[in-house]
């Protein structure tokens, strides 16, 4: 067991391309940290740097009380689950799990008991142990890949988008299993994904990355409720937050570009009156009223989700989506009134994108 600390970690490729621009965070012992961001944001690179598969240009990576910058992957006491599982295709399931232990000269009985234990924890049928990876289903392969990580009893688990090859249903199931397993073993874990739902549900601690920098670090709900930047606000949540441009009229009022006024809590924002801002409203926080009441949303399309509906429309020409519950009725399917509570409005500086 160990905590993981990154201190101003940087990566610049020989060609001069900087992939990681000084990232720092600390994952407490036993914590589940998810690195999330769009593709190309550097999250996989960062994970591979922690694993020792990618060199570190600058900064320190610490696992437990050791700085591991120069250590080989094996010496870092980590285990990794790869995106496409990376199971050795010519070895049996048993050999796949035992390979690393054998290379470390673990005594045979010890290997046997550890593999058996891993199989038991993962509910892998012992009959599967003699099969080759290609004879397994996607979910089974996923378990074997995790088994290979578990038998090592590492200080840290690293997951590189491990669920992206599974179909939607299995992905949800495996997501729950990974979380349960991690709780049970209590092993510090760092998990990379581009899927914000996966990120929200798995993490104790979420690190949102964008273009090689951290946008925000914190607990999932904290990030969801108080996104620090427009990027985080737009990235977390599905359907995504609506953004409306406007100017600050007073500390409690924004005038939208479209001319309407929206109440808000700019609080102690130090911005002067007339500053350009972006107002963010989550679809589920906008309230539906009768046509004519509040702001008018011209409806373009209604998506039925079963658990509710998404109303896509335009607010004076700007696209906006509102989520409503299954019981809620719409008076008209052409236009509807919208009310936006002041505490539902996130205000961001239009220039820096930072939260006000």
């Amino acid at each position: 067991m160990a905590d993981v600390q990154l201190a101003d970690v940087r990566k610049t490729y020989p060609g001069g391309f900087a992939a990681i621009h000084g990232i720092s965070f600390a994952v407490p012992d036993g914590g589940f940290c998810v690195l999330v961001g769009p593709s190309g944001c550097g999250k996989s690179t960062l994970l591979r740097m922690i694993a020792g598969l990618e060199s570190i240009t600058d900064g320190d990576i610490r696992i437990g009380d050791r700085i591991v910058n120069k250590l080989e992957p094996t010496e870092r006491d980590i285990a990794m689950v790869f995106q496409n599982y990376a199971l050795y295709p010519h070895m049996s399931v048993y050999d796949n799990m035992a390979y690393g232990l054998r290379n470390l000269k673990t005594p045979k009985p010890e290997i046997e008991s550890r593999v058996a234990e891993a199989a038991r924890i993962l509910e892998l049928d012992t009959a599967l142990l003699s099969r080759k990876p290609r004879q397994l289903s996607g979910g089974q392969r996923q378990r074997v890949a995790m088994g290979r990580a578990i038998v090592r009893k590492p200080k840290v688990f690293l997951f590189d988008e491990p669920l992206s090859n599974l179909d939607a249903k299995l992905r949800v199931q495996m997501r729950i299993e990974i979380r349960r397993l991690q709780r049970r073993l209590g092993t510090t874990s760092i998990y990379v994904t581009h899927d914000q739902v996966e990120a929200m549900t798995l993490a104790d601690m979420l690190v949102v990355l964008n273009a090689g920098r951290t946008e925000q670090i914190g607990a999932p709900l904290e990030l969801y409720e108080r996104p620090a930047t427009v990027f985080v606000a737009g990235f977390l949540g599905s359907p995504p937050m609506n953004f409306l441009k406007g100017t600050l009229e007073s500390s409690t009022m924004v005038r939208l570009e479209q001319g309407m006024e929206v109440a808000c809590n700019a609080g102690h924002a130090a911005l002067p009156r007339g500053a350009k801002v972006i107002a963010g409203i989550r679809p589920e926080r906008a309230l539906v009223r009768l046509p004519g009441e509040g702001l008018t949303l011209e409806i373009e399309l209604i998506e039925e989700l079963g658990v509710g509906r998404l109303v896509h429309g335009r607010l004076a020409g700007t696209p906006m989506t509102v989520a409503i519950g299954p019981d809620q009725q719409l008076a008209s399917d052409e236009a509807v009134g919208i009310a936006i509570p002041a505490d539902a409005v996130h205000l961001f500086d239009a220039e820096s994108g930072k939260r006000l």
Partner: protein, 282 residues
Amino acid sequence: MIENRRWGNVPAHLVLIVGVIIVAFPVYIAVIASTHSAETIANGQLSLLPGSEFIENYRRALFVGTSSTTRALVATMLFNSFVTALAIAVGKIAISLLSAFAIVYFRFPFRKTAFWLIFLTLMVPVEVRIYPTYAIAANLNLLDTYTGLAVPLIASATATLLFRQFFMTVPDELTEAAQIDAAGPLRFFRDILLPLSRTNLAALFVILFIYGWNQYLWPLLITTRDDMQTIVIGIKKIVATHDALTEWQLAMATAVLAMLPPVAVVICMQKLFVKGLVETEK
């Protein structure tokens, strides 16, 4: 089929059958001739059906030799061919595997240079540098040795390029998983890369065995003693003892024996053979 032809596939079958007959005819005649007596052939009375001298001809070719010359026995030459072909195939595969592994899985100064040094050998077939190569082999005392027959033909770019290409398709994650599993380069090579290359290895072996077996010019130069000859050279020498004296029934028996191993390899391992042929030409 896209449309119904009036004659079905009869024309296609006819063309193919004629093709097969044309392709098989010279060999068929060789087999037939190897079962007749010298007189039948010399008198131009060879028929299209087997004769009665099968056992006698093959016994003489294999273990007695032709009467007019003191050429080596076919059994000896078959053995020489076998050793040479095996050494060439195994040797080429071994050194190519290692060099391809080095070029793909390591970064080191002069890597590109090494690659180009190997790659350029594609452009210099043995035929165009035959005498200087011979001189070097002679200086190294390799005349009339198996080493001399095989080693100069072992280095070539084809196998290296093939393995390089195959290694490039092995997912990086497998290598990384092995690195995390505490496998060093040699262990990775032995435990992961070699087993994954099995099919390619076998396919290449088939092609290279045939290549080695069918070598002509190099063995012709490097061997001076009859008992070091390979069978492909031996048969030419049996024939070249000039016309009327040629014991055609023995020459044909020898030819059949010389064709048998590589043809058997092609037919029995057709899948591997086709794969090997197509891949080496990529």
